[in-house]
């Protein structure tokens, strides 16, 4: 299995959108403020639909919000 982790730029995007609060973003996409905080901290991976909603809220492509970072295997 390919090992990796998901990183996100939600904090930066909120900043660039007039310091949008986590609660406001949560209301836009239909989740609680705590869930946004959890996603932002990388402790909860949202569903694909929620991820698209977040990208839509910031009017950017999905890849600008979330990024998959592969853990490279060390060469023998």
């Amino acid at each position: 299995m390919i090992e990796g982790s998901i990183s996100n730029r939600i904090r930066a995007l909120r900043f660039h959108h007039g310091e949008m609060s986590q609660g406001d973003l949560g209301q836009l996409i239909g989740v609680t403020r705590q869930t946004i905080a959890s996603i932002e901290a990388g402790k909860y991976s949202p569903s694909l639909e929620a991820a698209f909603r977040i990208a839509h809220a910031f009017n950017v492509p999905l890849g600008d919000v979330f990024r998959w970072e592969t853990v490279r295997d060390e060469e023998p």
């Binding site: 989740v31 609680t32 705590q34 869930t35 402790k43 909860y44």
Partner: protein, 140 residues
Amino acid sequence: MPFREKTAWLALISMVVTFGPYFALVGTFAHGDALPNLRLLGLFAVAAISQMIILGAGRFFLSRSAPEDARVPPDERDLAITRRSITSAYYVLIGGMIVVGCVMPFNSGGWSIINAALLMIVAAELVHYGVAIANYRRQA
């Protein structure tokens, strides 16, 4: 703290403070297995009614202190946590019921079986709320 984590804490605490003393009492005094046993039935009624009162008052207080949070339906993270906690509780309940229903009838009877079944239900509920709280804490 998310509203649903608070309600999970409330349910867990109400279960511990009502059914904890019930099982402690039932375990310490000798009771026959004859049915009906009004003393045990009374104890169970006190525990169940106390739990309902604590849950009702607690829910009322939590809803009053955060009315907007109380109105919001569970989101996808809440539902995922609920699914995980119910799955864990199911294994506890099914394991307990196998013991109560298939093993205990050979060496026990009456109130012993009823109390063992109640204990398994309470244990499953404790696991349900405990796993939910642990998940909320881990993702906080």
